[in-house]
Symmetry: C2
Subunit: 148 residues, 2 copies
DNA sequence: TTCAGGAATAGGAATCATTCTTAAAAAGGC
DNA sequence: GCCTTTTTAAGAATGATTCCTATTCCTGAA
């Protein structure tokens, strides 16, 4: 993993506060939740600065962008691979520690104290058409086409 | 599963066309993809009618609202539980037939012809705080609070 | 059949998360 | 300090979805 002093990014004070705040949290905040916290330390920061930095930091692997459901994207200061639980009522997201995986079938995760209702499994890959495109070097994730 | 003639919904012509179109598709369209198709048969239908009906039809179990990642929600005419693959390049979503599950570790799904890169697993449930609220009958999924 | 009341619709405005734009400020190297 | 490049604040723009409202459509009781 890239360390803070090895990035190609300039370590501005805003950037530093965003990383510190995110890494200090056990939760997995959305950009605007983080914005509210960061603003306490740096009142003139703007929401787009938070968004831009989260993307960039995720881009060089200093933090993790979570690919979960819900209407808002969430970010994680812990870049190790691990699973998550999402609360169906309030949307909060927590880690599932690997030692808790055994609990899951019982419907309650003792370690994280969630009542487990189910899970969602989604495979990711390239469809027949895009496999060819990717092989030819055509870029991944072009802008989704506009509706005609 | 509820059949078409058992719903509490009036079976309007718009509703009928939406269900028929969705059930006739092997893909898992977004609301606007479906809108474009439905519009060919019923040119005066509006996008909000499509959205509203998809929600209602999913609400009574006639169709399935897919809880996948990506910037647009997708809907499935097949209400049986099954897994999905999402193309990382174009966003297309296909079914993973249960007989294809054995293929997945090999990185290619023969039956669906996807190149499989990975998967996303997300557990769902109620967090400690919400467990109590749910037990007291407080509603699930209140409007997410506005940012202050 | 007719008609009143509820349900559904078209069309567009509003909302919300996210991305983009631009001019000004800050970093780093020299 | 000076120059070049990166980053920032602020707000506009975008895209998906939801909401609003006046109108139209059903349905069932009279």
């Amino acid at each position: 993993m890239l360390e803070l002093d090895e990035t190609p990014l300039r370590m501005t004070s805003q950037r530093k506060v965003i990383i510190d705040e995110l890494r200090g949290l056990r939760t997995h905040p959305t950009a605007d939740e983080l914005f509210l916290r960061v603003r306490k330390k740096r009142p003139r920061i703007s929401l787009s600065t938070v968004y831009r930095n989260l993307e960039q930091l995720a881009g060089c692997g200093l933090i993790q962008k979570l690919d979960l459901c819900g209407s808002q994207r969430r970010y994680d200061g812990d870049t190790a691979a691990h699973h998550h639980v999402r609360c169906l009522r309030c949307g909060r997201v927590d880690d599932i520690p690997s030692e808790a995986m055994g609990d899951l079938r019982k419907g309650v995760c003792k370690t994280c104290d969630y009542e487990i209702i189910g899970y969602r499994l989604e495979y990711l890959g390239f469809c027949p058409r895009c496999r060819k495109q990717v092989r030819r070097g055509k870029p991944v994730k072009p802008k989704p086409r506009k509706k005609g």
